[in-house]
């Protein structure tokens, strides 16, 4: 078994309670593997520890136990190879939207000229629909959705190997959300980027992801299942609901969130090396196997058949 591009091994996070009380174990023994180029979404109830996992993947936070290995190297701190869209945007309020992107681009491509940096940044700002003056405004003068788009542009513009997205479309209206989702898929398809994305929206997850990880409720949360989405790409928002697997997958996700996330919650016994249960639908249904770490779909074909 080859190690996947990103491998999460027995990851555990505990927070010390204030005043020496019982420590809070957010999650324990999380095992995952993500292949290069894969698009993975993670779904779970609020407070189960999704952002905490993402911060550890980013290298911003340290696990209490276990390790994250990317490209064969243990993640020990933040890096420009991992771009992040934070849940709260984290823009620098004293810089204009444009400057919030250019400083990142400058940090990534140190040898570029000012003009190259500017043009590259503008390209990504235009991509998220922020141009024509809005890019010169400070974050406080932008709406929540516009701020989120700046933060998306910043993460995309540094073209990281791994994109970590924490509810990136949460504050967007349906129209903008749709167009940025399309943009995200387009950027991702045209590169060999890997995406790890947190979302609360099951339809969004099915539309975007190759694989959806399902997290049980905390404390002692874990990634219980890994649902393969084998709907061929490109996926159209309008037609995907007619796909024969669509409602099976959707019902499975909704049912997990409604009941099983609760039933499966709680401290697990000694299965320290347990990997999430792989769930498939359609042609491969029934092939539910409790696999070793990582998915079986490393050979995923990426459909880049865009209209042009």
């Amino acid at each position: 078994m080859s190690t996947p591009f990103l491998s999460v091994q027995n990851l555990t996070k505990r927070f010390q309670a204030p005043k020496g009380g019982e420590s809070l174990t957010v999650f324990e023994n999380v095992n995952l593997g993500i292949e290069k180029g894969e698009f993975v979404c993670i779904i779970g109830h609020s407070g189960c520890g999704k952002s905490t996992i993402l911060n550890i993947l980013a290298g911003l936070d340290e696990p209490s136990d276990g390790a994250v290995i990317m490209n064969g190297k243990e993640v020990s701190g933040p890096s420009l190879d991992r771009g992040i869209v934070f849940q709260n945007y984290s823009l620098l309020p004293w810089l204009s939207a444009l400057k919030n992107v250019t400083f990142a681009v400058q940090a990534r491509y140190k040898s570029w000229s000012k003009k190259q940096v500017h043009d590259h940044s503008m390209k990504y700002l235009e991509m998220v629909g922020l141009a024509g003056g809005a890019e010169l405004r400070k974050p406080s003068q932008l709406s929540g959705g516009m701020r989120q788009r700046v933060s998306i542009a910043r993460a995309f513009a540094i073209q990281p190997e791994l994109l970590l997205l924490d509810e990136p479309f949460g504050a967007l209206d349906a129209l903008t959300r749709g167009s940025i989702q399309d943009e995200l898929i387009r950027i991702w398809s045209g590169s060999d980027q890997t995406v790890f994305m947190i979302t609360h929206d099951v339809d969004e997850a099915i539309l975007l992801a190759d694989r959806i990880l399902l997290m049980t409720n905390g404390p002692y949360a874990r990634v219980a299942e890994s649902v393969q989405v084998e709907i061929e790409r490109p996926r159209e928002r309008a037609n995907i609901i007619h796909h024969p697997d669509y409602y099976d997958i959707r019902n499975h996700l909704v049912e997990f969130l409604a009941t099983r996330s609760r039933e499966l919650a709680g401290k697990q016994d000694d299965d320290a090396n347990s990997a999430p249960k792989v769930v498939r639908f359609g042609a491969n249904a029934g092939a539910e196997i409790s696999s070793e770490t990582g998915s079986k779909s490393g050979t995923r074909k990426r459909a880049v058949n865009r209209a042009d």
């Binding site: 911003l60 933040p78 890096s79 420009l80 771009g83 309020p93 400083f103 940090a107 400070k138």
Partner: protein, 276 residues
Amino acid sequence: MLASLNARALVLSLVLLAVFLGLWEAASPKQNISGELTEYELLMGGAEPKAAVPPPSAVIGKAWEELRNPFYDAGPNDKGIGIQIGYSLYRVLSGYFLAAALAIPVGFLIGMSPLMYKALDPFIQVLRPISPLAWMPLALFVIQDSQASAIFVIFICSIWPMLINTAFGVAGVRKDWVNVARTHELGPFKTAWIVILPAAAPTILTGMRISIGIAWLVIVAAEMLVGGTGIGYYVWNEWNNLDLTSVVFSILMIGVVGMLLDTAFAYCARLVQYQE
């Protein structure tokens, strides 16, 4: 509505000023129209104009006279108000910027490092409450120069608000912003320059503004002690000459210059202000 509020406030200010000046003028004793002097008054020197608080008209006359030619220099005890204020500003600003050059980097260090904070805190807590003038004898002895001693006193009194505010501002920079710097692999200097300094700038500027106010308060007292030049010395000298008109005039000038300094710093503070 806002404009009319400003206009009304201005009118009210002018009315208050007129009333105040009127009362002051009326309350001032009229000195030269007193008739016959009693023998007692003659004995007590009543023939001389009495040293009394001058009426505003006299102060305004004095101001006109002084401000028409603020930079004349007729020997050590007779210099224009502009020159005296110039000396004071020179001392305040040199002491102040020396203090800033030390306080802001050290404040950064303390704010960034909990270890340095804990290590330096006892020193700061002991040194900070010392009245700056209490340093004067020691400064005069060690430095052996009254000019430099006055600058030193300004230095020592300006340092604390800047140091403490810088440390406070730097330590309080939102973790999210520091994380932005970390994820973009900014080195320590870039992080300080791109993230920490702008984030802490409003707090630092507040400290700088408090410091310049204190420095301007202290310079008057310091110059009264060291003598020679400066607005503080001028006030004291005019008091020794019993020229109360000049004393009142210079008190007003101290207020005006202090206000201008504060306004300048308030303007700088607005430049670095940001909205979250």
